[in-house]
Symmetry: C2
């Protein structure tokens, strides 16, 4: 069993890096705070006897040797970056739970057959640099390194330059190696476990998600003398599209998700009808076929609303992460570990993307969820109970041991 | 009569300063381009024998002496700043028409009893620094100098610092002096004169306008695992408010205007429901009582929509410019000048705010409109016909002479 107090203390120490006034964390990818968080993790791993390897994407791999160095390792990990108004657990819990597994095995003097690795994946959130999960994505072959390096933040800074600047552009190729298995433990970021009073989520997969930029181009004109009638006003299309997309979510049942995370007006002058609006759209559904139908409807809705008011709509596909099913042997290892430990549990699908989505393309992968307060995440008030975090780390320990011995 | 070709040539030369790829102008207030435009104007005025005075707001007064230096001057003028995607005529036409009046009087060797002045008012557009018409507003006593100096642009730069930086913070107090009369000639920025095939608009006044910031505060949460039902999503309030405000405009007849020029999401992350949206709202009506009713409904609509979806709405009053009626003797001077010159014309109310709004509080004031192509303004494609611009300057010349002799 892991040491729950030590895990909690490490989480709280990491949470001081980028701590916000409202009790959350703002430690966005490839900032100086991200570097400080990485430095702390690397120091802790070295103190726990791990060797450190850093790849060209800044992914960090802390390795605890096994009896048989030729066996492929069992890997766990998650991310240290946060949302701009993020919490103390999203991602960082999966990383430090992995570290706690290593520390606990050290305490107990247990050697595994296969090596164990704890990974930190770069820029999982996708908040500063879109898309999400790009560190694990390049490693798994979904994205090119050049594509990743050329991604820009809102200030136009590139991923490659910022990675270099914080000193985490490593020598090792960002390329998958054979793994015996991969596991990731994470807070649920939704309300189900809490509502159903289950301590552990056994994940069968991850829902599909599509990201888009919808651009509405109208005709700038003066707010005063221009009659309402002749205007080609992007806001007139916007409200129709928002309303119909919320209705689209309703029409596709309780699992459909429609989110608008960002919007920008150009030129953005108070007394001028905007030339254009750019809206960030996030559509999700666990059933990829339903998500494809939503994708189709979204295009129709945008085109029809734009035509109705004489503006032009264009949709850029920013990112697609299709629905994922995890490897049966990893799901079984998690299920059996939960049973061994006697925790209440529920089989479920993740609503959020995780690095495991991309890892699962190149290695047998499984995930473990623990509850979080009111299901709140991507929010500074994000919270989780120490005993749940400990339980999740215990399940991780057992599942890793099953695959590594 | 003025020299229409010289007026056109001066307009085209000024338009090279801040010229945009789409044929417009981006010469925003207190930028280096604004300074270049001012420098050119000052040089032209000196060449035309005027003395120059600059006040603490950067307002420029070019004075052509009269026979009787003790008489209060007859003033004309407008602004040289533009919208970010502005045109070549909005404001600059009124300034250069004033200069053309001086040049034409010089050519004809005509001396007036009263001195004449051509003014450039700082930051009329309100695009870079809100509110609009702040240069004439301080001069007329509507705003304090400190208030003006502390206004910030989107980068947090202050009006006062930027004015100092471009070297146009003058020694003279920004304070109204007695004027015999003030006139301003401007493109209509709307479609009426063109549609009715009239060459000159004789203005009786300016409609009322209110500016607001509407802030919608919700609860940030994760785009994936958070059920649609429990969300407190500012976008869910936004589309209701947009729709109902457009309906509000419809309900208040053809003269009501509702415009949303800018919007911003915080934290602005693709996979997070925003914590808040801030929307710039511009409401106008020529009848101040109807505008007040619209103001009232706006507050009710915002509060009800926010309550319906569990977000919080707050409204900040950014600026109010009540409906204005111009001085009967100035309206008459314009009307008579148009009659003398034989131009087709129409009496009308301005849909846009102008420096004359504030000047009219401290001096008898009148305005003259000329048509612009398709009524388009605050747009790089803004256009006007040389013969109409010449006609407007002729009316200005005659009206000024009536009041100055
Ligand atoms: N776990 C998490 O917040 N992932 C970010 C990717 C997503 O948007 O689901
Ligand atoms: N003329 C003009 O564009 N004025 C700006 C003030 C307004 O918004 O009406």
């Amino acid at each position: 069993r892991v040491n729950g107090q030590r895990l909690w203390d490490s989480l709280m120490e990491m949470a001081t890096i980028g701590a916000t006034a409202k009790g959350g964390c703002n430690r966005q990818a490839l900032t100086e705070l991200d570097r400080d968080g990485r430095d702390l993790f690397v120091r802790w791993c070295r103190e726990a006897g791990c060797s450190i390897d850093i790849d060209a994407m800044g992914n960090i791999f802390a390795r605890r040797p096994g009896r048989n160095p030729d066996l492929p390792p069992v890997l766990t990990g998650s991310h240290l970056d946060t949302q701009p108004t993020g919490g103390r657990f999203d991602g960082v819990y999966g990383v430090l739970a992995g570290l706690e597994v290593v520390r606990s095995l050290n305490d107990a003097g247990i050697e595994t057959e296969a090596p164990l690795e704890v990974a930190v994946w770069t820029n999982e959130e996708g908040a500063r640099f879109s898309p999400a999960m790009i560190g694990s994505g390049v490693w798994s072959g979904e994205f090119d390194l050049d594509y990743a390096y050329s991604r820009t933040d809102k200030d136009g800074k590139t991923f490659g330059d910022e990675l270099q600047r914080i000193g985490y552009r490593g020598q090792t190729a960002a390329k998958a190696r054979p793994l015996a298995a991969a596991f990731e433990v994470h807070i649920e970021q939704g309300p189900i476990l809490e509502q159903e009073q289950k301590q552990i989520g056994v994940l069968s997969g991850v829902q599909g998600m599509h990201w888009y930029d919808l651009t509405l181009v109208g005709q700038p004109c003066h707010a005063g003398p221009s009659p309402m009638e002749g205007r080609r006003d992007p806001f007139m299309a916007l409200h129709r599209i928002l309303e119909q997309l919320y209705r689209l979510a309703e029409d596709h049942g309780p699992w459909a998700r429609v989110t608008f995370g960002d919007i920008r007006a150009e030129p953005g002058s108070r007394n001028t009808v905007p030339e254009q609006l750019v809206l960030a759209v996030d559509l999700r559904h666990p059933d990829q076929q339903i998500l494809n139908a939503m994708d189709h409807s979204f295009r129709e809705i945008a085109a029809a609303a734009a035509a109705e008011v004489g503006v032009e709509a264009s949709i850029r596909d920013e990112w697609r992460s299709p629905a994922v099913a995890f490897a049966p042997q990893c799901v079984a290892a998690v299920r059996e570990s939960v049973a061994d430990l006697g925790y209440s549990n529920k089989e479920m699908v993740s609503g959020a993307g995780h690095d495991s989505v991309y890892i699962s393309r190149v290695a047998p992968t499984g995930m473990i969820f623990v509850p979080c307060e009111k299901g709140l995440s991507h929010n500074e008030a994000e919270n989780a109970q120490p005993e749940d975090l400990e339980a999740g780390a215990n399940v991780l320990l057992h599942a890793m041991l099953k695959m590594a011995s």
